[in-house]
Symmetry: D2
Subunit: 312 residues, 4 copies
């Protein structure tokens, strides 16, 4: 007989459940909160024209170390190198390549279909909607045609006066509040929030195993309500797990994933490199920007790579 | 003995050559023209907040039909389907997938390293900088950290009163001028231009073979100077070949690629789906927008998939 | 309500069912019939030392044309070309490559887990033993450590005086009997039978679409009993479908697969190129040989590529 | 200026060079030595009918640990799981999968084109015959249609009274002689020799890093002449590197590869699991057998997976 989920989780899940909010056939969850006004607000945040990519590397030194079965780092290989199409290198020559990769290997958004529990996904869609033939036949990443809004950086590490959050540090609503205060802005419905732990710095320091395995700083379940109350459209972090690991209770694994993706319908992003952006924000004191982070719309994808760009 | 390139091409190439314009070590070509002002101009083009993805499908029905060796359409396959990590489906379950694809199979930007002739690429970089081990060790797509600017749609088809340009129609500077006039804007340095032939409609009509093979409408070599004179940062089309096919002279294959990528350093995009955007522009008469189209930065990539988004 | 299977099929299936014959935990089916004596008989068939590969091409011109979703032809790409490991091409240089392919794209054996009906596979194993995480967790191709025995070619085409069987020709027990007579041998338990239609010749003639799609010559359901009565260990054909297509009754798809793989536990091979071997056998009148055709043992594979070799 | 190769190596290479032995256009090297008589001798070695696969695992626990760039372990993923082709699971259902892998990731033969030095490969073929478009356009693994002969196990470890050779132990001609004496046979032209260090046991003990990296036992350059003098057709080992590592002289990397593949044209196999076979041979005192080890003939492959089978 399976172990029951702990009462606290069941109750929290019930209190957060947003099923039906955007209709029975909804595929987008909180991304519906990105309305035209939110996008205009994002565009209005562009004051200077500076833009920063938040993408980590896409190659064999991407974050994966084999701990998640099958989620391989991008392997790019050559199919043509300066091929002389007319047989003469003095004329047109072309080079071409292919890639094989886990869709969630590097910087990515999770599809809402990425996780399930009790046989259901977001909005009560049966978990069986994920199939070998079609992948996410519901709630797939290709449903997210665009993901553009105002972005807000919540630099938890700097707000706590730390270079980087300690492994296993669970981010609390208090941490979020402090970072908002530091950001000197008010979160608005449809905003996309980027939560910085400082962990991406580990990748830059080539401490990939430390970045990807073992204890991780990250969000706690109390933050789910915090984001939900503020009608945040999507949240991304600079970690591999998004949420704190180990979690708060051994009886439920990755509870933040379950609450965000299944109950709230909140799209999550991982492996966002927030180091340069955070330095920029610390420098000018402005923590808001236009965020353009539309995923590659792989049909049926359970997630997808993205090159997120913040424009200030 | 190899056939010499035709004189007209050699002279045109020499007249367009921009090598050294951004220094000996430049990796970006005309993308250098996207300065902060261009980005601010892009952001200022956002009036309403509407956004449109210009991505074609990323799956086995992407444009490739086998005519370009090795450039396979995205094949997404499953590595996990609702895997119960704790052994109990009542608790956390996750689904995960991988993809294998040609980097230029669907909507993409070419890297400047994509083509060469006479042993050189943009800025005189030796073609040998493309290697099996590292791909584009110079001029790779990962050098393009962001690609965000004001976008301008030049709807050649509508400007000519056609639903879709005829196969083999070569777009002329006159066509471009007419489309600019229709767009009622002035092109400015750092703008990204999207050139519509209407061909993406073939994909929607499931005429993939017609879209991908045989005669193609597209840009002619005279347009290279036109874009160069206007300091356009990048150009993308809704075709598989970018330029007209067959070309103007059998003695030189894909001359527009050679002039743009090798001589001018102009980044080219292909397989952009411009149908919805064009209908929108025709509707409100506004052909300018913020274009955010930063490629996935595969290290050493000869090209990369992108989900381009136009925001009006 | 699902359409019931036709009575004739249900009765035939029941009459052929061999479940439990090799125990409840069996993973090999009729491959158990290859005992040491069968292998000695195979070795004894080597008179001259001539050997022939029965492999079709493993590259982008392998049989697949896209009609079976996801079963892509082998794409081999480069990761290193004469890489000078010490930085000096005068010293050690190495070239290396990878491949992506459908396991059943070219010459292959099906795993017993490849098909199911009514929720079960061979020996009553639940179809749910095939998972996204592990593939064929039961009845996978890796269970077949070796596949070596006496081989017998049944050249149906030559026995019927035809260069190649007509598309849609259903091979009957009478056809098999005639080919055995031509082979002038007696089938024995544990033999592996190769059934020639002549279709591999289409691949040599570059008629891949004709080879892979549309009407196909092949085995009929009556042959299942014929092989079963003779305790044949495995059967392979020079076709993509193994069995005649379209089948005998629209109400049941690929009935030979279901009878062989699910009921009898008979391992099937496809895309064996029997042209050279058949010419050899026609030449010397000897249709028996050592057959060594052990698949690459991919863990959990639903099938696997093989380079089958006949030694006479 | 590149460092010159050491004199001893240059002299040894010259003394071993077999270029032209089988004509200017030869693609097979010493595999030409497998004549019909050798194959008959192999078949005659089958006394009992026992067969053993020498394949290591083909999955994510194959030998690679990332130390050889791009040579990834096999990743098998699902494209179909019990897909009901007629829409009804009571009727025909099929499961299908694909694989991505380094061709040399697990048990494999090197193609003669795998290595070069000084710009040449076996028989003086220019190294430039390996291309991004075609792979090994000369000396590719697909030229090896069959690889079947008498096999002889030289159990160096047991001959030295060791469970497993020490890391860094260089096998000498004396070691080979002792193992031949233990095998109580005479090597004959066209034989295929399997050299056991015992290292495959590390894989069984899940010591993959130890198996794949650091010091390795293996063959020394003096053994190249030893095999050459005896006209051995091919040699395989139960190690990742084939030869001892580090080698005898820092000035030349992997000298055995260069001598075998480039100078002698001797096909090399790696990652053969010889543990069961060696136990069998130790048990009955018989070290000869039929070896059938024909690689999957990937067109242009620099190597290929194989499921080698020894039949006694």
């Amino acid at each position: 007989m399976p172990a029951p989920l702990p009462d606290w989780f069941v109750e929290l899940a019930a209190s957060l459940r947003q099923w039906g909010r955007w209709g029975d056939d909804d595929q987008l969850g909180t991304l519906n909160l990105i309305d035209d006004a939110a996008v205009r607000r994002g565009a209005a945040a562009v004051k200077h024209g500076r833009r920063r990519s938040l993408a980590m590397r896409f190659d064999q030194s991407s974050p994966q170390v084999g701990s998640i079965p099958g989620r391989i780092n991008p392997l790019r290989t050559m199919v043509a190198i300066n091929t002389p199409y007319l047989g003469d290198p003095a004329n047109f020559c072309a080079s071409d390549d292919i890639v094989t990769m886990g869709l969630q290997a590097s910087t990515h958004w999770d599809a809402l279909a990425h996780v399930s529990y009790g046989g259901v996904m977001w909005n009560g869609v049966p978990a069986s909607a994920v199939t070998a033939e079609g992948g996410a036949t519901k709630l797939g990443i290709h449903r997210v045609r665009t993901l553009t809004s105002r972005g807000v950086l919540l630099d938890i590490a700097r707000a706590r006066g730390e270079e980087r959050l300690a492994p296993g540090h669970g981010i609390t609503p208090g941490d979020l509040d402090a970072a908002v205060e530091r950001a000197a802005t008010t979160l608005q419905p449809g905003d996309v929030v980027l939560v910085r732990t400082g962990n991406a710095g580990l990748m830059a320091e080539r401490k990939r195993t430390e970045y990807t395995t073992g204890e991780q700083p990250g969000l706690t379940t109390a933050c789910c309500a915090w984001f939900n109350e503020r009608d945040i459209a999507a949240v991304a972090t600079d970690t591999v797990a998004f949420e704190v690991y180990p979690g708060e209770d051994d009886a439920v694994l990755f509870p933040v994933h379950l609450l965000d993706l299944v109950e709230i319908g909140l799209t999550q992003g991982q492996n966002f490199d927030l180091e340069d952006l955070a330095a920029d924000c610390a420098d000018d004191g402005v923590y808001t920007f236009l965020l353009e982070a539309s995923p590659i719309p792989f049909t049926g994808g359970l997630g997808a790579p993205v090159n997120p760009v913040a424009v200030k």
